[in-house]
């Protein structure tokens, strides 16, 4: 999510393909270095409840996640 623009596609690829995964990791790190927060929307298998999972490293991304959303970190308004 980019202020003034909304949703912007940063990178896409198949994490099972080595080159594409490297590109995804590089973009992931770049976003976190810029101070963004990263979250993966998830659905509880049992209850079906939707929530988000904050991820701080590329390895935290749940297997099978189809997207990671980056958004500016929260600050007191």
């Amino acid at each position: 999510m980019k202020p003034g623009h909304g949703e912007v596609l940063l990178a896409e690829g198949d994490p099972r393909v080595r080159e594409e995964e490297e590109r995804l990791i590089e973009e992931f790190r770049r976003q976190l270095d810029e101070g963004m927060w990263a979250a993966v929307p998830t659905t509880h298998p049992g209850s079906g409840r939707r929530e988000a999972q904050l991820v701080k490293t590329y390895g935290d991304i749940p297997t099978g996640a189809d997207r990671v959303i980056f958004f500016p970190r929260a600050s007191g308004g």
């Binding site: 999510m1 980019k2 202020p3 003034g4 623009h5 909304g6 949703e7 810029e34 101070g35 963004m36 927060w37 979250a39 929307p41 079906g48 409840r49 939707r50 929530e51 988000a52 999972q53 904050l54 959303i69 958004f71 500016p72 970190r73 929260a74 600050s75 007191g76 308004g77």
Partner: protein
């Protein structure tokens, strides 16, 4: 005498040539810059549809992340309710009536904490998601992205976002009467949904 003066003038001209050439180059650069900035086609064009398209994309993104009830709530009422995760007692955590406290998430307004059981307003949390790109302008997220960012922050790490927010009693930025009206609207909305659910199930 005249010949000597002409010779001196010629020597002075030759010596001054590098200076003249340098000044001429600068003048050409300045003139090109003036022409460039004066060209009306070089002014960045204002795109009146950019924000509308951004909001449209943001709504789609929000819809794809939250559940159907939350999406319908946002679409119909303009805010989303998020249940609080903490409970003083273990029995409260498993209470059938839902969470002990909850938040109302508005776009570009503080998050309001309240007690669903009694409707008591607890506090408002002023939080924003500022532009970190350093692009100069103070851009903000589209309204639906702001709601989604709050929803993601609250559902993933409630403590972190609440710690970062500025907490006030309700009334600093939001009108308590309006929040109470929103709670009443939410209750009515849920009743209507329930009735529709009963009707549709009884009709089967």
């Amino acid at each position: 005498m005249l010949l000597a003066l002409l010779a001196l003038a010629l020597i002075a001209l030759v010596l001054a040539m590098p200076l003249i050439a340098r000044e001429a180059r600068r003048w050409r650069v300045r003139r090109a810059a003036r022409r460039g900035s004066g060209d009306p086609l070089d002014i960045p064009l204002y795109d009146p549809g950019r924000e509308r398209r951004a909001e449209q994309r943001a709504r789609e993104l929000l819809r794809s992340c939250v559940n159907d009830e939350e999406w319908a709530m946002y679409r119909d009422l303009g805010f989303i309710r998020v249940g609080g995760r903490h409970a003083r007692r273990e029995s409260d955590r498993a209470a059938p009536g839902g969470p002990v406290y909850a938040y109302l998430v508005y776009p570009h307004k503080p998050i309001v904490a309240y007690v669903p059981g009694s409707g008591q307003l607890l506090s408002e949390y002023c939080v924003e998601f500022p532009d970190l790109t350093g692009s100069g302008g103070r851009h903000r997220l589209p309204a639906s992205d702001d709601v989604l960012a709050k929803w993601m922050a609250l559902t993933s790490d409630e403590d972190r976002v609440i710690r970062r927010a500025n907490m006030h009693l309700v009334g600093r930025q939001l009108d308590p009467a309006r929040v109470r009206r929103d709670l009443w609207r939410l209750a009515e909305w849920e009743r209507r949904r329930q009735r529709r659910g009963v009707t549709s199930s009884s009709g089967e």
